[in-house]
């Protein structure tokens, strides 16, 4: 157990220390290799930790600096945390591998190293959000993640990307302000910041029937702050521009991973601080459910109207995040398992769609649907990634998106009044997804001009980028076909969370 015991701490330490080493490497290519090497090592460590924790069916806490809580800080690792760390590191690695060519071509050589530093800091922040056992540490890393994500948007240095970054920063700051206010109120009620101690104190207060109103206000502020940060409808105004105006690798990471980091904190708050019983009693679960239900419909309708491929995918992200809120709002343990399934599936699928779209944009030279006609014939693997990802989100069986929807529907059947609205929302949203993904898929595989025969062109020389897309495709099919084992793993993870 001694090696696996140190893996959470070592993962965060490796990510942060390697980020600090990046500026010492003058060559941007070397910096990229260093950050990807660290991500690979963290992925391997997380896979080992996951295997150990699943075998022993337990979780553990790691005392930072060997000071016991509440003086020292703590990390906590169970199967769900290890799985999330594994998925986050794999998606980060694959996104930086598949998007590397665009980064090398678009960024000035001296800037590539700085970009790698940003990505590695973001990676460290995401790992810390997954493993931390302390609410204030979570806040600090939420902020580190938000600042690095904003700079990643602005890194393209176009007018549009800087405007998007500033809007992103404004919403992000509002989200952090509300979150900090929520933490302050919670601390003033309980005097605790560690999740375990918070849970004990909240249970005592609830049993005594004291401070119910401020506790609800604190839960609402935290939920609202994190919803703004994770672009849940109707707080998603910043998302489409921010995700559409930056590099493909950044879009994939921002959409696939960064939004999930905040959701992990919501997960921790629901399961380990407020408890589902309290949230159900004060109807916060209904609020989450309604946010999710409206978001999955409205964001999908907005996606229908988009002329630009990346904006359409970004709106689709907002819709998919709403599925997670819907599942969290079911107020049951199965709902939490379904939300975790959707987190994993969306991290893998959305990054794959963005990377596929990036390949097609590069091949065709345009961002708009008119310019992307026939683009999949010029970049077949990118087209395949976009197609499989799109069909997965539409709910085609044997693909990851179907399994996630099936899991949410299964959880909704056991809910109270939410069953019918949830099933209607899932069905309507799937139809809406199909309404924008299927015409897009038909367009990209169509001929550029009716008279012109267009053969498929397989590009040589980008083996690593293409390999990354193949791994993402395989991961998507695996998550779709291995539904039973993945759900059991997530059930174990949620039980030990």
């Amino acid at each position: 157990m001694s090696l696996s015991y140190n893996i959470p701490f070592l993962s965060i330490l490796l990510a942060l220390v390697s980020a600090l080493l990046v500026p010492l490497l003058r060559d941007g290519g070397r910096a990229l290799n260093l950050v990807r090497g660290v991500q690979l090592a963290v992925a391997a460590g997380s896979a080992y930790l996951l295997q150990v924790l699943c075998q022993t069916q337990r979780y553990f806490t790691f005392q930072m600096g060997h000071f016991p809580a509440p003086w020292g800080n703590e990390l906590r690792a169970g199967p769900l945390e290890a799985l999330l760390a594994l998925i986050f590191s794999v998606v980060m690695l694959l996104s930086l591998t598949a998007g590397a060519r665009e980064l090398r071509e678009s960024l000035r050589p001296e800037k590539l190293g700085w970009y790698c530093l940003l990505m590695q800091l973001l990676f460290g922040a995401l790992l810390a959000m997954v493993y931390t056992d302390d609410l204030f540490t979570a806040y600090v890393f939420v902020e580190i993640g938000a600042v690095t994500a904003c700079i990643a948007v602005a890194a393209k240095e176009s007018g549009r990307s800087i405007v998007s970054a500033i809007r992103y920063l404004m919403f992000s700051c509002l989200g952090s302000g509300l979150m900090l206010l929520g933490i302050s109120i919670l601390y003033s009620l309980t005097g605790q910041l560690l999740f375990d101690d918070l849970e004990t104190a909240v249970v005592l207060l609830v049993t005594a029937g004291e401070y119910r109103f401020p506790m609800v206000v604190s839960a609402l502020l935290l939920t609202l702050g994190l919803s703004i940060k994770s672009a849940q409808f109707p707080f998603h105004a910043w998302l489409p521009d921010a995700h559409a105006s930056t590099f493909t690798a950044s879009s994939a990471i921002l959409s696939g991973l960064v939004l999930k980091g905040y959701l992990v904190i919501i997960f921790k708050l629901i399961l380990r601080v407020f408890g589902q019983a309290l949230l159900v009693a004060v109807c916060v679960d209904d609020l989450l459910f309604l946010l999710g239900l409206t978001g999955m419909l409205f964001a999908s309708v907005a996606a229908l109207r988009q002329e630009e491929v990346k904006r359409m995918i970004a709106y689709s992200s907002s819709a998919q995040i709403s599925y997670i809120f819907l599942a969290l709002g079911l107020g049951s343990r199965e709902g939490l398992v379904a939300a975790a399934y959707q987190i994993v599936v969306h991290a893998m699928t959305k990054s794959m769609i963005f990377l596929g779209a990036g390949e097609m944009i590069r091949a065709s030279g345009g961002h708009y649907w008119g310019e992307l006609r026939g683009a999949a014939r010029m970049a077949p693997l990118g087209g395949l990634a976009f197609t499989v990802g799109g069909l997965s989100l539409c709910g085609l069986p044997l693909l990851a998106g179907f399994s996630a929807k099936y899991c949410i529907a299964g959880a909704a059947l056991d809910a109270e009044w939410q069953t019918l609205p949830a099933l209607f929302g899932l069905a309507a949203s799937s139809v809406l997804n199909a309404m924008y993904y299927i015409p897009a898929i038909l367009a990209i595989w169509g001929r550029r001009r009716a008279s012109q025969e267009q053969p498929l062109v397989w590009e040589h020389g980008n083996w690593m980028g293409q390999g990354a897309l193949v791994v993402l495709l395989a991961g998507n099919v695996l998550l779709g076909t291995a539904f039973g084992p993945v759900r059991e793993l997530l059930r174990l993870g949620v039980t030990l969370f």
């Binding site: 204030f136 600090v140 904003c150 602005a154 920063l169 700051c173 601390y187 910041l193």
Partner: protein, 130 residues
């Protein structure tokens, strides 16, 4: 009513400051004023936190060995405020840097004007590619 407000004056001030900051951040088009609004919002939360840890008549939380128990001010909110200030300084610096870039490019600090100019630039770019 007035007595209750006076008793909770720090919290009331924090709420008022937060509201002013929020309105300035989201409704004022000038980027520098938005940054001031953001800082007001952060300061309001820090005031809230600091007021929470303050104990009337409490001493600084430095306990010499062998000292008898006395009333001390809670040190944790102070630590949280310090961390919060570091975060606020970082976001302000980033906001200022982005504002500077936008000003160099569009020669304006008005976000509405900048948004209009950036959209026009984008449309021009599309016309050129078409």
């Amino acid at each position: 009513m007035l007595e209750a407000l006076l008793e909770q004056r720090y919290y009331v001030a924090a709420v008022v400051l937060f509201s002013i900051g929020f309105v300035t951040l989201f409704l004022h088009p000038n980027l520098i004023k938005k940054i001031i609004g953001l800082n007001l919002m952060d300061t309001a939360v820090f005031l809230f936190l600091a007021a929470m840890g303050y104990v009337d008549g409490g001493k600084a939380p430095i306990v010499p060995p062998g000292a008898e128990a006395e009333t001390y001010v809670n040190p944790v909110p102070g630590g949280l405020v310090l961390t919060g200030i570091v975060v606020a300084v970082s976001t302000t610096a980033l906001f200022l840097a982005l504002t500077h870039r936008l000003y160099r490019r569009y020669h304006s600090l008005n976000l509405d004007v900048i948004l209009m100019l950036s959209r026009e630039g984008e449309e021009d770019g599309n016309h050129k590619t078409a």
